[in-house]
């Protein structure tokens, strides 16, 4: 009894937990894709392959769920797209043995840009994203397929995407996975190394990187989001854990400011039963 008793302090607010049971998560995602595609009566998805890790993972998951014949990859380079992007997208097509199509968007985008007058890189980037959406939805009709979404949870929460552009899809297997987790799953599925290793980029203009755009690394922002969103920890406590206050507050602001991108448009209520308020059916209604 001479030893001093051990003291166990109160458990601090949860540490950011971005770990995954890879096998079980893959099983859920594959089941999701297979079930949600087939219940619509279709058997196929189209996915835009940018050469990046998100669309690569989405394609790998879709092939596991639907087989190679169930996935059509669409490469939609713009004139300024990095040649390595196309190479990496082709590597995905080759590794998976899927049908791939190439649809150059340069002419369409340029015609639009010329008509629209002076548009800066941000608007041009949005136009590219929306032209790609246009192509994917058109190809999906041709192939009797659904458009697969490739936005991850980090992008969705921060609003780092173009509404009605890359944010548009029928099904999104990645929307509840942070970028860090996308990387882990992509590694587990042996996505080509050049894709795993390169800096994430929207590739809307040369030398663009996500982390420069966002002003924070994915590693840091994912840990902040995991605390803020998943563990419901208040900003002050996150700062006390060693994260920069301005980053935490900026992340919080980005989340609230981009809420409109995550919801359907607002409808003015003037009837007894309005879509979204008192007309509420599951999306999987009658399927």
């Amino acid at each position: 009894m001479s030893r001093r008793p051990q003291i166990y302090k109160a458990t601090p607010p949860r540490e950011p937990d971005l770990t995954l049971d890879v096998a079980a998560t893959l099983q859920i995602l594959e089941g999701f894709l297979k079930n949600e595609v087939e219940r619509t009566g279709l058997h196929r998805v189209v996915v835009g392959l940018s050469g990046g890790i998100d669309s690569a993972l989405a394609a790998y998951l879709a092939v596991r769920a639907l087989g190679p014949s169930g996935v059509v990859g669409v490469l939609m380079p713009y004139r300024s797209s990095a040649p390595s992007s196309v190479r990496d997208a082709e590597a995905v097509v080759g590794a998976l043995g899927i049908v791939a199509e190439r649809f150059e968007i340069s002419e369409l985008v340029d015609v639009f840009a010329a008509k629209a007058g002076k548009i800066g890189p941000r608007r041009l980037g949005n136009v590219m994203a929306r032209v790609r959406m246009l192509v994917l939805y058109d190809r999906s009709v041709e192939h009797d397929a659904l458009v697969l979404g490739t936005s991850n949870k980090t992008e969705l929460l921060l609003g780092y995407g173009t509404i009605h552009g890359d944010l548009a899809s029928a099904l999104n297997p990645l929307g509840d996975l942070y970028k860090t987790q996308v990387r882990e799953l992509a590694r587990a599925l042996s996505v080509p190394k050049s894709i795993l290793d390169k800096a994430p980029s929207a590739d809307l203009w040369p030398e663009q990187t996500d982390e420069a755009d966002l002003g924070v690394t994915y590693d840091e922002v994912d840990r902040i989001l995991a605390l803020l969103v998943d563990a419901r920890v208040i900003p002050g406590t996150i700062v006390a854990k060693g994260f920069r206050r301005e980053t935490v507050l900026r992340v919080q602001k980005l989340i609230t400011r981009s809420q409109f991108k995550r919801r359907m448009p607002l409808i003015a209520k003037v009837s007894t039963r309005s879509i979204g308020w008192d007309f509420r059916y599951p999306r999987d209604w009658k399927t």
Binding site: D21, T25, I28
Partner: protein, 295 residues
């Protein structure tokens, strides 16, 4: 209770498609009969699917509905525990489960605790049940709970005080991800809760959770039968459909209740007294001369 074989039917109901789901039930019933099961247990809302929302009044059944009569007919062969939306008198739509035997409705339990938080919105769509009662089955006294009901320890406690020896819990439990070393996180949490319930109540616990996908949710499965000592009798893996049969042995229940006479030592009078006192304070009731309470 007598020894009885119970089939756990871990199915993936089709959302809002009662006819398809009736076929799923019949298929599981065939498998259960072949293994000489006396009871087959289906998940919560097994006839309708879970994310119903405004479909609730559209797919609700009364005991006179043709589809309900088909189920009753199926219960001639073996007892059924099924989940459905019941339209109660007064047009209250309830998340319900029925025990059907020999073409008769033996008991209906209506979910008392409707989760309305986080991803759940049942309080919007359903009327809450207000009874928790044990009932007699051919194999012995039993009780039924629906999912969230089991998270309120008084539910199982009341059923067992009311005589139940077998506790059936039906569930449509969505998963919330999978972590290293734990797998799908919701399954061990459920299993711990159910095992503790079996031990606290020295009763058999049979849990049937659905699988499948609705609106991006996925349901975990992991159905399990546990004996009154807390030992697993049978279990089904997560995420996949399947049927497993567990034999609930009346002699094991007797031994457990002899070894751990928790129910013998329960003090209903004490519970009643203390709950009455707490209730009086909580709801600011005053004692009347006659001993009754008024507001």
């Amino acid at each position: 209770m007598q020894t009885v074989r119970v089939a756990l039917a871990q199915i993936a109901p089709k959302l809002g498609d009662l006819e398809s789901n009736l076929e799923l039930h019949k298929e599981a019933i065939r498998l259960a009969r072949r293994e000489k099961a006396g009871i087959v247990v289906f998940p919560e809302l097994s006839l309708t699917g879970y994310v119903l929302r405004d479909q609730v009044p559209e797919i609700a059944l009364t005991r006179k509905s043709p589809l309900f009569k088909k189920l009753l007919a199926a219960s001639e062969a073996l007892d059924l525990i099924v989940g459905f939306v019941e339209e109660s008198p007064g047009h209250r739509f309830q998340n319900a489960t029925a025990y059907l035997s020999k073409g008769r409705v033996v008991h209906v339990h209506r979910k008392v605790y409707l989760p309305t938080y986080g991803m759940f919105d049942e309080g919007r769509d359903f009327a809450a049940g207000d009874l928790i009662r044990a009932f007699k089955t051919p194999a012995g006294p039993a009780g039924m709970l629906i999912c969230e009901d089991a998270w309120h320890p008084v539910s199982a406690w009341i059923l067992v005080q009311d005589g139940a020896e077998m506790l059936f819990t039906l569930s449509s439990g969505p998963t919330r991800g999978a972590k290293p070393g734990r797998g799908i996180t919701s399954l061990p949490i459920w299993h711990d809760l159910l095992r503790t319930t079996a031990q606290f109540q020295t009763s058999f616990v049979v849990y049937v959770n659905r699988v499948g996908y609705e609106d991006g949710l996925n349901f975990g499965g992991g159905s399990i039968a546990i004996d009154p000592f807390g030992r697993t009798l049978a279990t089904l893996p997560g995420l996949a459909s399947g049927v497993v049969v567990a034999e609930l042995d009346g002699e094991v229940l007797r031994r457990a209740r002899a070894a751990y006479p928790l129910l013998r030592d329960e003090n209903l009078e004490l519970v009643h007294r203390e709950v009455s006192r707490i209730r009086q304070v909580r709801f600011q009731l005053e004692e009347t001369a006659a001993g009754g309470k008024t507001r």
